[in-house]
């Protein structure tokens, strides 16, 4: 059964799993690590040769941008955590109708942030509905273009992220822990402060980190409502687009973003490791039965839910309004904006084509990467950091890096057919959004009992055969979930698309951005609604019971229906720990 040395070498080289792994690693190296590394290396060169003082205003400009960006991200993080923590505690432990509140409070996560920005203008802009209401009441609102606009947009859009993260943390606190604390004589507030908060600290840090990085790296909201408040990603973007200025400035700004984001991520991860408690999801949760807290909580959650959902109502209204001028509600309604969309069908088609290409690639990549990460060790740690990079670093930065590397290749005639048409855009979208399917697949892999595969080996199956017939079928439900999550993420990506796309491949988000900045608010609203509908459709698909569906399909294919009677013994848990 054992071959010669040559045969085993050949077997190793032709092993389909090895080939897939090599392709996946090469993909990450070429389109993620290389672009960022080239920029950082080039910037390091500039810094070392003292090029920073050229032009002379650069250092002061960089300092101002950094201060703006960090001030914005810190404020947004503080407000989001301040809102998200009580929301999570109220809906996780106290109030009634939790499922409804949780749904309402997490819906904004599905919408892209630039849509929120555009909604902020509708509500709080110079002729916004809230602005008008306040003016009638005699209050003059501050100008939202600038820091307030970006901050409000980010808070409305990112609070759900913290909320959801902390809620997940609360689900890991065993009921017995809180019951013990209460039995020892603590009041509900004491239990929350002394027991629950320390227990879920790492989740709070995690939520804060996610918000900070999202706010710090966002380019959509600052472009739309930023006014003259300049932040790092938008400056990198606009300087990159304007050909007149120094070509090195966007590269330097991008590298600086990489350094700051990376540093903050490393620091927060260390903090999380220190505070992490071994997590197991528990089914039963403690309930704080304090009437006044429950009333307060319900009111608070309802208020925040209304605030978070208001922007989308405004978008819906503007999309059917002939003109929403200086009056409170539009006069009449119209479908003209939607008809207009129908006439320029391009962005919709482009988005669907590009997403249909990028999503399966990203999920496939995640399946392969997940398998490698499961093996643990240094390789897994490297992959972990690599697949976090797109999450951490602003999309604009990644886009600039890719253009830098790959348009140079085109210039020297090395352009691959892959790069033509939507090629580079698809590649960029995959790289940018691959962290999502990777996390989903990682979780799926950890749920698979390793001894299943070991049994398969012992029964004589090769690693490839084992993967195909034992591992992969167990991953199908997770792969479907990953497909849908990735679809949502890819179809609403703006930052990297703005930089990488060719004019004939403008997607829905780019088009919305264009409409919103050019003042076609109605069309922007209509297109946003279309985008939200696509996302909603995808979400609805996650609600289907895939396991049952897949089971039915496979049974239908085999043409044999097994007996469905119940067994005497209690069904065994398949995935018990070793």
């Amino acid at each position: 059964m054992r071959g010669t040395a040559w045969a085993s070498t050949r077997r190793a080289l032709l092993n389909p799993l090895r080939i897939l792994e090599a392709v996946a690693v090469a993909y990450l190296l070429a389109f993620l690590v290389l672009p960022l590394a080239v920029m950082v290396a080039e910037s390091a060169g500039v810094v070392l040769t003292g090029g920073l003082s050229e032009p002379p205003w650069f250092l002061q400009y960089l300092g101002e941008l950094t201060r703006n960006s960090i001030l914005l991200a810190l404020s947004v993080t503080a407000i989001c955590v301040g809102l998200g923590l009580p929301l999570a505690i109220f809906t996780g432990r106290m109030i009634r109708h939790r499922a409804g509140f949780t749904l309402a409070l997490t819906l904004p996560l599905l919408a892209p942030p630039f849509v929120s920005a555009f909604a902020t203008i509708l509500l709080l802009g110079r002729v916004g509905i809230v602005t008008q209401l306040l003016e009638r009441a005699g209050v003059r609102l501050f100008d939202i273009y600038g820091f307030p606009g970006i901050a409000i947009t980010h808070v409305l859009h990112l609070t759900p992220l913290v909320y959801l993260t902390i809620l997940a943390g609360l689900r890991t606190v065993p009921k017995a822990i809180e019951e013990s604390a209460v039995s020892l004589g603590s009041s509900p507030l004491q239990v929350l402060r002394r027991i629950v908060l320390p227990y879920i600290a790492s989740y709070i840090y995690m939520g804060a980190l996610l918000v900070f990085l999202a706010s710090f790296g966002d380019v959509g909201a600052p472009l739309i409502v930023g006014g003259s408040y300049l932040v790092l990603p938008t400056e990198a973007y606009t300087r990159f687009l304007s050909f007149t200025v120094d070509r090195q400035i966007p590269v330097l700004l991008s590298s600086w973003i990489v350094v700051i984001s990376g540093g903050i991520m490393v620091a927060v991860r260390a903090l999380m490791r220190r505070t992490e408690i071994v997590h197991t999801f528990v089914t039963e949760q403690y309930e704080y039965d304090v009437p006044w807290m429950r009333t307060l909580g319900t009111a608070f959650c309802a208020l925040v839910a209304v605030l978070l959902l208001l922007p989308y109502v405004a978008i819906l209204v503007v999309s059917v309004a002939p003109a929403w001028g200086p009056q409170l509600l539009p006069r009449g309604w119209t479908l003209d904006h939607y008809r207009e969309l129908w006439r320029s069908f391009g962005p919709l088609r482009n988005s669907l084509v590009v997403t249909a290409m990028a999503t399966p690639v990203a999920v496939l990549l995640a399946v392969v990467i997940g398998r490698m990460m499961r093996e643990g060790g240094r390789r897994a740690a490297m992959l972990d950091y690599a697949t976090l990079l797109p999450f951490v670093v602003s999309s604009v930065v990644l886009g600039i890096g890719m253009i830098k590397v790959y348009s140079n290749l085109t210039a020297v005639g090395l352009a691959l057919p892959l790069m033509s048409g939507p090629g580079l855009l698809v590649i960029a979208l995959v790289v940018r959004r691959v962290p999502y399917p990777v996390r989903v697949m990682n979780a799926a892999y950890t749920r698979i009992d390793r001894s299943l595969e070991e049994c398969s080996f012992s029964l004589g199956a090769s690693p490839t055969r084992t993967f195909a017939s034992v591992t992969l079928p167990q991953l199908y439900p997770a792969m479907l979930a990953a497909l849908i999550i990735t679809f949502i993420q890819v179809i609403s990506e703006l930052g990297i698309t703005l930089i990488v796309h060719r004019p004939e491949w403008r997607t829905i988000p780019v088009q919305i951005y264009g409409y919103a900045t050019e003042g076609y608010l109605g069309r922007a609203g209509a297109l946003s609604i279309v985008l939200l509908a696509l996302v909603g459709l995808a979400v609805m698909m996650t609600q289907l019971d895939y396991r049952r569906l897949a089971g039915r399909l496979s049974r239908g294919l085999r043409g044999a229906a097994p007996a469905r009677s119940d067994v005497g013994g209690e069904p065994a848990t398949q995935h018990s720990q070793r």
Partner: protein
């Protein structure tokens, strides 16, 4: 059916040595158990035999074939895990047929063999079930059938009963032994449960800290533990430090300051400091003091009623640990009230000793 030879295998995980030099030979058709506490290296040893781990050093031989570097899929072994590891996406039938399909047997032959082994474990009626719809005991039977169906050279079982409840455990245990006898397959069984190991095996190897402390028949392990660890891990008893003296055919042990008793002269120890393991059956409650009998007196510190038997821990002045006495609840009923002053006779049967290292 294969003779298995394990030559000085060792395995390091980073700086930690899980197995530090195990040498062992297992005969054709033998049922061999590896017994030890968690973390003793027994599972690692099993996984090395299975080919799931590469040993850091040492060799594995199946008969005349050296398999040390052979990947698991070419070793032809049957594996059964604690977690059952029944493929959740396949029916019971497909699970058992899996290894046969890989061997590209004709479908008719596969069918015949699958039903033959399913019958052996009494699962033929559930062949079309998905694993989610059968119980834990049934899952383990499927795993067993799947392992045996390929007619492996060797059957390896890693704590196969640990996830089952107490009653089912005894049931499946008997089934494993019956199946093994029927098929006549060389079997290595890993467990931390001494009752399982002692009741199932032809021979038992007791492991601790990555080394084999003793390999022997079950009764021998219990009666003549080779080391202090084995004496303490297998069976009940009180382990004390003592001094052995030999006077011709008479062997005498002194524990504590003054308690002396005879032991069987067959014990393998030379005079000097020894560890002494006093099993509960070495102790008898002395109603009336027989003249000259080795007797210790002490206070009943703790009693336990466990159905047919009663246990009592007796604190004897001068001894570092309490002596554990056990007897039928009929005999001892009322005889060992807490706090009572009692006298116990010791030995000579039921006492094991060994040189203190």
């Amino acid at each position: 059916m294969t003779r298995v030879r394990i030559v000085d295998i060792a395995k390091a995980f980073g700086p930690i040595w899980a197995v530090r030099g195990v040498t062992l030979e297992i005969g054709e058709g033998e049922f061999f158990s590896l017994l030890g506490p968690s973390g003793c290296g027994k599972t690692t040893t099993l996984r090395i035999i299975a080919g799931l781990e590469r040993p850091t050093r040492g060799e594995i031989w199946f008969g005349e074939e050296r398999v040390t570097a052979v990947p698991p899929q070419f070793r032809n072994i049957g594996l059964v895990f604690q977690s059952y590891a029944v493929f959740p996406t396949m029916t019971v039938y497909d699970n058992v047929a899996y290894g046969l399909r890989i061997r590209r047997l004709p479908e008719a032959e596969i069918r015949r063999r699958v039903f033959a082994v399913l019958e052996m474990v009494g699962m033929e009626a559930l062949a079309d079930r998905m694993p989610g719809r059968i119980s834990g005991g049934q899952m383990q039977r499927v795993a067993l059938a799947r392992a045996v169906a390929i007619r492996p050279r060797l059957l390896l079982l890693d704590e196969p009963l640990s996830n089952l409840d107490a009653k089912l455990r005894v049931e499946v245990r008997a089934e494993i032994r019956r199946l093994q006898r029927e098929v006549g397959i060389t079997t290595i069984y890993v467990t931390h449960d001494q009752e399982e190991a002692l009741s199932l095996s032809d021979r038992v190897g007791v492991m601790n800290h990555g080394i084999l402390e003793q390999v022997a028949r079950p009764d021998e392990i219990y009666r003549h533990p080779a080391t202090r660890f084995v004496a303490g891990f297998v069976g009940e008893g009180t382990i004390l430090q003592g001094v052995l003296t030999r006077d011709g055919d008479r062997c005498r042990v002194v524990v504590g300051d003054h308690i002396a008793f005879d032991v069987e002269p067959s014990v393998a120890a030379s005079p000097g400091p020894v560890w002494v393991c006093i099993r509960p059956e070495a102790l008898r409650l002395a109603r009336a003091a027989a003249p000259g009998a080795p007797v210790a007196s002490g206070v009943v510190e703790h009693t336990e009623f466990v159905g047919p038997t009663v246990r009592a821990d007796i604190r004897v002045p001068g001894l570092a640990r309490t002596l554990r006495l056990s007897g039928s609840s009929v005999d001892l009923a009322g005889g060992v009230p807490l706090g009572a002053q009692v006298r116990v006779e010791i030995g000579p049967a039921g006492i094991a000793i060994g040189p203190e290292r």
